[in-house]
Structures are given as C-alpha cells and as structure tokens.
C-alpha cells in the first residue's frame, strides 16, 4: 500500500483516512494511535463500545469514519455488542478486531459477521498498518 494514495482533506489536513480505536486500555489506544498517526491516519479513540457508538454518531464521523479497530473484552458495551451495532447501522465501515485473547470460534463467528481482520495482541506495527490498509480498500463511501 502506498501511503497518502487515497488521501483526502479533513479540517485542512491531509490524511490517509480516519480510524476509530476502541479499547478500554489507554495504553493500547496510545500505542495504536502512535503507529497509525505515523502512517498518516487520523485517529479517534473510545474506551468502550458505548463511547464508540457515541463517537460514530457525532457530527462528521457519521460520514467520515473509514475503519474501526475494536477490542472484545471491555466494560459496558463490549466488543461483540459494539460490532453487532456497527454492522447493522454502519455496514460501510470495515471492522478490525484487536484482542488479547485468541479464540478460534469467536474469530470464525466474527469473520462471518463481516469483520475484515482478527488480530491478536501483541501485533507488530507493519501488520496493523497492512490490516488497516486492506480495510481501507473494503470501505464504502457513505451515502450522501
């Protein structure tokens, strides 16, 4: 993937796309943000599924969110519930699962629901960026 190839403007700043990182661990959000920002992405954060739903339903995110990276084990609305909500209400946004616990059954079930990648922590920066790049190709434009 060539960075900035599909770039467009948000708030006057060139970006490869807008990614929402949903994880209850601030450390994970911090390190994923660090990796993706260096690759030219605009990164938003949410600490659980409930916040993620708030984020996507606020303002321009409804239209401009490109990819969501979601943990599974989180308080309040967990990853499974959040993914179900996103698939139903925002099917155009590709979803990547980034979880601490590899579970084959869960991975199969989530991939069947349309999740584009199932990554297990710790994941290398290059693999994460490649996954986001693949997801970007799968995204559909929001209907205007």
């Amino acid at each position: 993937m060539s960075e900035f190839k599909s770039g467009f403007f948000i708030g006057g700043e060139s970006t490869n796309g807008r990614v929402l990182v949903v994880d209850d661990e601030p450390d994970i959000r911090k390190v994923v943000r660090m990796t993706l920002q260096k690759a030219g992405y605009d990164v938003l954060e949410a600490e659980n599924g409930e916040k993620a739903i708030e984020v996507i339903n606020s303002g321009e995110n409804r239209l401009l969110l490109d990819v969501m990276i979601c943990d599974i084990r989180m308080p309040k609305v967990n990853g499974i519930e959040a993914i179900a909500y996103f698939r139903e209400n925002y099917p155009r946004v590709p979803l990547i699962v980034l979880t601490g616990f590899p579970d084959t059954d869960m991975a199969t079930s989530l991939l069947r629901q349309g999740v584009v990648d199932y990554l297990v922590k710790p994941v290398e920066g290059d693999i994460l960026k490649a996954a986001v790049g693949r997801a970007m190709e799968r995204r559909e434009l929001a209907p205007l």
Partner: protein, 381 residues
C-alpha cells in the same frame, strides 16, 4: 468452584422466593433409609482422637455419643463441644450414661483395652491397639486425599483463567512492542525517555500477573497454618478471581470490619474465597452487585459473599456441597468447588451456610470460631 445452578436455578419456583438455610452438618439430619445409627464413643482426645472425631462426625450413619480424655485440656474435647458431642472427664461416666455400639480407644495406652473390656456393657465392640492405629492411618490418608483433591480442583480451575491471563499479558505486551518499534526510529530524546518509562511500567504489570498466579497455584502445606487477616485475603481473592470471570460490569461493595482474623491455612482460605467470588459473579452473568462482608464478634468471625444473581432453587440447596455435583456445562465445572470449600471450612472448625432467593441472589456465610492462640504467628495474609 462449581455447583452454582444457572439455568435450573433461574427457572424453578420463580414465583415463590425461598429462604433456605443449609449447613455442612445438614447431612446428619437426614438419615434417609439408613439403619439405626452406630453409637460410637472416642477414648482419647489427642491428635488422633480429634482427627477421628472430625471424620466420623461427617458420616450420617454414625452418632458420636461421647468423648473422653484424662487431660481436661486435650484439644479433641474442645472440638467435641463445638460439634455438640458430649464430653466426659471420666470413662466410667461415659460408659454409664450412653448406650454404645462401639468404643474407639486411641489413647495409645496398652493397659486401656483390658480396663475397658471389664467395664464395657455387653454388645459393644472395642477397637484398640493396632486396630485403632489402622484407623488413625486411614484418617490421615483421607486427609491427604482431601488435600490432593483440593489441589486437583484448583489446577482444573486454571483453565478458566486463560482468557483473563491472555488479556492482562497481551495488553502490556502490545504497549511494549509498539513503543519499542517506535523507539527504533525516535530521535526526540524526551520522547525516548517517556516511552522507556512506559515500557518499564508495562513489564512490571506483567510480572505482577505471574507473581499472583504462581503464588496462588502453589500447593498448600499443613505447616502454614496461622492467623489470617480476612479482609486482605478477600482483596487478594478478588485479584485472582478477575482472571476467571469478567468483573468490569460488576459493582463491588466491601463492608469490612477492621482486623477480622481467622485461624487456618491462608492458601486454602484464599482458594475458598476465589471459588465463592467466581461462583457469585457467574451467577450474575456479568451484571450485578457483589458484596464482601466481614463481621467480628467476641466469639466468631463471619465472612459473607453475596450476589444479586439467579439464586439457587430450594431443591438443589442440599446438593450443592456434594462432590461432583454441578449444574455447569461439561468442561466448565468439576463439581468439586463447594465440596472442597466445605472440607476446608470444617478443618478450620467453621461452618458454611447459604441463603438464596430465586431471581434475587445468594449469600454464602462462613462462620469461624474466634480462637486466636497466642503462640501462633500473626499477619499471614
């Protein structure tokens, strides 16, 4: 760790909330189809006599009619009183008062058997000498088996920790990997320092996980008995239980009385608490309130673990302490959790009682005698 009914409990008798009390002694009140109980007296209240008392007391078809020792301070006499077994200072009085099926002489005194034969009423048997020693060996064997069973059940429970351990290990590992990758290219010295500190913190968190779990998995030893600070033991159990069950959406209320202590094995008591907390959280299906309470009085220390979960159906309450009884799906429970808990608590001379309301939750109350001996170590927590 097992025995909390889930679907069965929620479905049964939903309209008639039941308050049911059961104690570990409840088996004795239900002789069912058994023949008349065997009436047994124990002569000698030392270590062997006490162990024998504890084992025989658990058998519903045996009625302990008395215990005696020439020394009024013999440990078995106190234990007999706790179990409501009559205590005699003189053998004559015991033989005179009580109809007997069997006398067990565990005094180790070679002259005792012949003395007893002269006084014992017709029809009563005497076990003495080598035969009594054989019983003592069997009782010791039983105690070893119980310890093994506890360890086996603890190890079986480790399987359910996998998700929690993976979560807690892989999150800091993700931070370490991400930061290290970034450091390889970072040129700002201040950022390098900050990220190095983040990595150090993350490494410390992963080592804490290993420390908690290796300490929990170690085998329990009878020599570790001592005074246990109950409140800190409950806190430690919460840290372990969170590997087995998700606590994120559980409200935890602690109502601790300061300085609540009990005497016993700290590792075994930790296992008891971990099991009770795990069961409570599983009964709530990850949403509800877990209350941990300690109450000290002059005579007893009580520990209460309450949940706002599905509750236990009254007809199941008498079964939950049975070995291998579980309502959990195959592979999820050994059916040994509450059975082991009951054994550990009995060894600590305590009782366990459960109150349950279908659809509202359950409370397990552990009651221990307050008997801190001044010679024992303190603060083993």
């Amino acid at each position: 760790m097992r025995g909390r009914p889930t679907s069965e409990g929620a479905g049964a008798a939903a309209t008639t909330p039941a308050i049911v009390h059961t104690t570990v002694e409840s088996g004795r009140s239900n002789p069912s189809a058994a023949p008349l109980p065997m009436k047994v007296a124990i002569i000698g209240a030392g270590r062997g006599g006490t162990a024998l008392l504890d084992v025989l007391h658990q058998i519903p078809t045996i009625e302990l009619v008395g215990m005696t020792d020439k020394s009024p301070s013999a440990p078995g006499l106190k234990r007999a009183q706790e179990l409501n077994v009559p205590v005699y200072s003189r053998i004559d009085d015991l033989l005179h008062d009580q109809p007997l099926t069997l006398l067990m002489d565990v005094t180790g005194d070679p002259t005792m058997e012949s003395a007893l034969r002269q006084q014992t009423p017709t029809g009563a048997d005497i076990i003495s000498g080598q035969a009594a020693r054989l019983f003592w060996l069997l009782v010791q064997h039983e105690s070893t088996l119980q310890t093994e069973l506890l360890q086996a059940e603890k190890m079986a429970g480790f399987g359910s920790f996998a998700a929690g351990i993976a979560h807690d290990m892989n999150n800091p590992l993700q931070l370490i990997l991400g930061m290290a990758e970034n450091l390889a290219e970072e040129t700002d010295l201040e950022a390098v320092h900050a990220q190095a500190l983040d990595i150090i913190d993350a490494v410390k968190r992963t080592t804490a996980i290993c420390r908690d779990l290796t300490s929990y998995s170690r085998r329990t030893s009878v020599r570790q008995d001592g005074l246990i600070q109950v409140n800190s033991k409950l806190d430690e159990a919460l840290k372990i239980a969170r590997y087995a069950v998700a606590l994120q959406d559980i409200e935890i209320r602690k109502q601790y009385q300061p300085d609540a202590v009990v005497k016993g094995n700290p590792d075994k008591l930790l296992h008891v608490f971990v099991n009770l907390i795990t069961n409570a959280v599983q009964a709530m299906e990850h949403h509800g309130t877990l209350t941990l309470e300690t109450i000290s009085t002059a005579d007893t220390t009580q520990v209460r673990v309450s949940d706002t979960g599905c509750g236990i159906a009254p007809e199941l309450l008498t079964r939950i302490f049975e070995p291998f009884y579980t309502t959990k799906p195959p592979g999820k429970g050994t059916g040994l959790g509450l059975y082991n808990i009951k054994n550990v608590i009995q060894l600590m001379h305590g009782t366990i009682e459960v109150d349950s309301h279908i659809g509202q939750g359950s409370t397990f109350t552990l009651t221990f005698p307050c008997d801190p001996s001044p010679n024992e170590g303190t603060g083993q927590s």
